[in-house]
């Protein structure tokens, strides 16, 4: 008897666990069905709570939403969006948000899937969604489905993103449609000026010297839009390992073409670049680090690169100063 009792007890326990589990699942299910998505602004809603993934998108949403929105970015300056991990507080922000804007094109890594699913619960908009696919860059050995997500380095593409944010705000809050349209028009005007300014500045670099060497290939759109050859050490994602062959190839290129400067990035450790510079030095060619570029995130508040426009301007000035 005693023995049998011992043998039986775990099975009974499993059965009990099973029962409890089934109860929990059933109870939890019925609760969810009542949820509905509020697609437009409520009448008594004081201010629209907007949450964005990166700082650039937050800046964009703030410019266009103006006084009607309160914008918060999940990723702080210096954070790499590919590798972002949400904290408990970030989940609360996403849960409380009325609208969510994100980069899309897999910029947010694995989080992209969640953002796509969040759309069932609240307006969740990838700012890259209205960009013509023909204007997007794709990697070489990719079957046309994978695009480079770093669209903000072509100001023209960012203007399209501004339009996307405007349309989303107008759809959510039609009562203030005029305001959003005015804000967007003013901001797009500034972006057009910025675009012209970049082209002018890049012209100061002698044509042969228009080569931008960085640690990770985030500047593809920048290169295409403003006529600079971009060489990177890593793949599109900061997580991809660079091979030793990449380092020596890049080193030889620097030596052969007498490139004056290379650049490090705010969200990528500069170690790889330092290896390339040391290699070039051994071969008798001295290369300097031209400065730090902002790639996946903007600067800290007060750094002089804490808005989209000042960030782009900082990058362009840094590049032009080092290469001209």
């Amino acid at each position: 008897m005693e023995r049998q009792k011992i043998k039986k007890s775990p099975l009974q326990r499993f059965k009990m666990t099973l029962g409890v589990l089934a109860l929990i699942i059933v109870a939890a299910c019925s609760k969810v069905e009542g949820n509905t998505v509020q697609a437009t602004r409520g009448e008594n809603q004081e201010i629209i709570q907007v949450v964005t993934t990166t700082g650039m998108i937050a800046d964009l949403a703030q410019e266009i939403g103006g006084t009607e929105v309160q914008v918060e970015a999940l990723m702080r300056p210096g954070v790499d969006p590919h590798l972002f991990k949400a904290s408990q507080g970030d989940i609360q922000k996403l849960d409380h948000a009325d609208m969510v804007f994100y980069g899309g094109l897999h910029l947010e890594g694995k989080m992209t899937e969640i953002l796509e699913k969040l759309e069932r619960h609240k307006p969740t908009i990838p700012v890259s969604k209205d960009i013509d696919q023909a204007l997007l860059r794709s990697g070489e050995d990719i079957n046309g489905t994978q695009f480079d997500p770093h669209i903000w380095f072509d100001v023209k593409l960012w203007i399209s993103a501004a339009g996307t944010v405007r349309d989303a705000l107008v759809a959510y809050d039609p009562a203030h449609a005029e305001l959003y349209k005015q804000n967007a028009e003013a901001y797009i005007g500034k972006l057009n000026e910025l675009d012209a300014e970049i082209k002018e500045k890049i012209n100061e670099i002698p044509e042969a010297g228009r080569v931008l060497v960085t640690a990770h290939d985030a500047f593809g759109y920048f290169g295409d839009a403003y006529g600079i050859k971009v060489m990177g050490l890593q793949g599109i994602s900061t997580a991809a390992e660079y091979g030793s062959k990449d380092v020596s190839k890049l080193r030889d290129y620097l030596v052969e073409n007498k490139i004056k400067a290379v650049f490090v990035e705010s969200s990528v450790p500069p170690k790889a670049m330092e290896a390339v510079i040391a290699g070039a030095k051994e071969k008798g060619h001295s290369v300097i680090i031209g400065g730090e570029l902002y790639s996946d995130s903007m600067g800290e508040p007060g750094s002089g690169a804490d808005t989209y426009i000042t960030m782009v301007r900082h990058n362009v000035n840094t590049i032009v100063e080092a290469l001209k």
Binding site: I6, K7, S9, P10, L11, R13, F14, T17, L18, L21, I24, I25, A28, C29, K31, V32, E33, N35, H82, L83, K85, A86, S87, Q88, G89, D90, I91, L94, D95, H106, G109, K110, M111, E113, I114, K117, L118, R120, H121, G139, E140, D141, I142, N143, T145, Q146, G235, I236, S237, A239, A240, E241, G243
Partner: protein
Amino acid sequence: MMFDFWIILTGTLVAATSGILGCFLVLRKMSLVGDAISHSVLPGIAIAFMVSGSRDSLLMMVGAAVLGLITVFLIQLLQQGGLQSDASIGIVFTALFAIGVILISRNAANIDLDLDCVLFGEIAYVQWDTLIINGYDMGPAAVWFLGITLLIVLAVIGLFYKQFKICAFDPALAAALGIPVALFHYLLMGLVSLSTVASFESVGAILVVGMLIVPAATAYLLTDRLSIMLLYSVLVGALSSAGGYYFAKWLDASIAGSMITAAGLLFLLAFLFSPLHGLVARFSKRRRMKSMTA
């Protein structure tokens, strides 16, 4: 709030599944097999990507699941060939991971293909990833997924509890009794592989690897009976996931990280104060022995 509940429930489901399997792994000195699988699935997702050209989650999971099974099969094979369990785990997972690195650098260097990006989920997001059937929102997919995994594990372990128990403690006796020991080892490792890969997709690697080891090790210090050890392991896991969640809330920190930290703290308590094997209990026992002999 609703998401508090979902995250804790998901954590508890992972903890229960891993806690049960973890007990058997701890007894067999193979706890690190979860960590091994978290690395060795890399070639699986690389091959899945090469075949399909997309980063679709389902395909990645199939690739990962196949590699998970290959991993545990190879580990078991090497171990039965006479190699120590830690060495077999080490050899298999580093070799497979290295193959994965080569495959990716050869075939997908320009795209974002790493485990964090395509396979490992994040427990923080479970409440938004809901399952929709016929237009009805059935709640988070992860809860269903992990719940079913738990049921499968419970069913298999429950059905063959006696066999698993004897195989874990005394394989020689099990063989003498006519139990197909190798078969049960493969069955257990297969369960471990499937449940870890399924959990990786929903909640990420650290939580699964941690829950596979820490609660089971804690329970190991608290009792000498397998059935009680299983129960304690599940309880410690559930407590860690609830406690860890509120810890994360308080600190505004990573949820999975906090859950494992909570599990670590519970382990520390057991290590110090367990009435059976705790440091304090052993110390006072030794003192008593000394005073008796003196």
